[in-house]
Symmetry: C2
Subunit: 325 residues, 2 copies
């Protein structure tokens, strides 16, 4: 396939049959009405051996945990509460029963925390790659799901936590000379890669406010996720390089530009990135149970992402990892 | 993996978090409440290249169509009306953009017929096998979903149409000497394999009756599906060999035992198999818009499936295709 994005565009339906469908394909998850006061939120995300994970950097437990985490993160980005999940697993002969059970134990750890029931699945065999596809279902109060398309000029751009730690952790895991002991921050980066925490409490808090907030999760790099907000809202997203500094991983021996690259292009941080009015952001800084980091602003203009430093502005390319490039 | 069934048992949750969950893992689909009068019905089923399909017996259009059909069939077996679907596709380099778009066109054909919206998905790459996992979501009136566990001694055993045609069609497709022209029935068998019809109208009709009916779809062989009813309801299912004759594919040149084997072990017919009281069955024979074929009965005893001929009874083994055997 030549290009993932144009392929997805070519197979995206242009009409809708069900009137209850509030948000169709194209956001972090779909939303549809089922009762007078609640809506269902549904998403699916897959991980493929050798592409999204390798056995030498993630244990089977961590692979399963992460496959569910990336889906919970999509629910978080809509402001939904997780409820159920279903699992398709395609299994090559190279995986033992014990490893497979560990995959489910990893999912189960997060499922217990979020009270999610495993309600279905399909178990099939494959030749040489394990494929794990998880469907997650959540619930949100009617009309409160947070879309990518709500950003407006003048908004503050914020994230819910540090960005780039997962890519830093993967780099540390791939370094072969592991003689010297790791620092606490290095351990923290590795944990961010192996056992990411979806931001459900932040997502549901933001949704329950009932304010205009655009939201996305950082599954690909920050530049790619900001671009999704820019395109869905048809605005320019301006990231302030000085402010970004405060959310980069605090690794002493790593060059600043390397850390910035991890944040912009790395992905898998599963923090939330969003925009809202100055007024709502000021309220959030006082009231939100989780810290929100101001990293820039929104302005009118053609959909794009700009990096603003003291002396210049640079237009960022999409940069997120395209599986087919 | 040693055994698919014991593996699934080992990863099936033993507790439930969500009180709204009416039917968990272990039936054709899961069912959970979302409003005072309706329930959601969700299932997932995957197809893997080289295992569930090959490019020389199914076109890309037919592969996509079938991947959605097998999920709609699971909804039919619960008596649900289809609403939405999500698609995970893992794509090797050997597939062209045109073929991939045909896969989605095949799904779209059924989606249009059943007014299903494609609401999400994930597109990933794989090394050498196409994997297609579809999640389907339907709706059913509260309390009306039809479970496998409702069979009772004294019930009639019925199916909604001919069984074994899909396996016969696959056999015809695999025969290399295709010199002589095919008969109408041979064409019909090939169509049954390539473009199966899920039985939504029968399923929803049976559910809306509001009677006690056990229901399952024939995705594996008849013996395997009957065994699922037997185990879920803890009863003996007795198939009457003479009556079975009426639902075997009417292929003149094929040995009777071959046809019986296709019906019992072939699978992919996507008819429905069920049981209900004599009284309800008599009513159904008068009122049902689709024909129901009486093929046996239910009696008390340890969960098993029996083939009853004029002179003897034979206990059938599970027989359905275990992907890991």
């Amino acid at each position: 396939m030549r290009d993932e994005f144009s392929f997805i565009k070519s197979i995206t339906p242009t009409n809708r049959f069900q009137q209850q469908l509030t948000i169709g394909i194209g956001d972090d998850a779909a939303v549809y009405k089922t009762s007078a006061d609640t809506e269902q939120v549904v998403c699916v995300d897959a991980m493929v051996e050798g592409i999204h994970f390798r056995k030498d950097t993630l244990s089977p437990f961590q692979i399963g945990r992460k496959a569910l985490a990336i889906n919970i993160s999509d629910l978080a980005a809509m402001g939904a509460n997780p409820m159920y999940y279903l699992v398709t697993i395609a299994i090559p002969k190279t995986w033992t029963d014990h490893e497979l059970q560990d995959i489910y134990a990893g999912m189960n750890e997060l499922a217990e925390r979020y009270k999610m029931d495993l309600i279905g699945g399909d178990t099939v065999s494959s030749k040489d790659q394990l494929v794990l596809s998880v469907t997650a279902i959540g619930i949100v109060q009617e009309g409160k799901a947070l879309k990518r398309s709500s950003a407006k000029p003048g908004d503050v751009l914020f994230v819910t936590g540090p960005i780039g730690k997962s890519a830093a952790g993967l780099e540390l895991l791939q370094q072969k000379e592991k003689d010297k002991p790791l620092t606490d921050m290095e351990h923290s980066c590795i944990r961010a890669h192996q056992e990411p925490e979806p931001q459900i409490s932040s997502g549901t808090y933001l949704a329950n406010l009932g304010k205009r907030i655009a939201l996305n999760d950082v599954s690909d790099g920050l530049s790619s996720e900001a671009m999704e907000l820019a395109e869905a809202s048809n605005v320019q997203i301006v990231m302030n390089e000085e402010k970004l500094n405060s959310i980069l991983p605090d690794l002493q021996n790593v060059d600043y530009h390397q850390k910035l690259k991890w944040a912009l292009n790395g992905g898998e941080d599963f923090q939330l990135i969003g925009t809202t009015s100055n007024e709502t952001f000021a309220h959030l800084q006082e009231s939100s149970p989780t810290t929100l980091f101001d990293i820039g602003f929104v302005r009118a203009g053609n959909a794009s992402v700009i990096m603003k430093s003291a002396n210049e502005e640079t237009v960022l390319d999409k940069g997120g990892y395209n599986h087919f490039s």
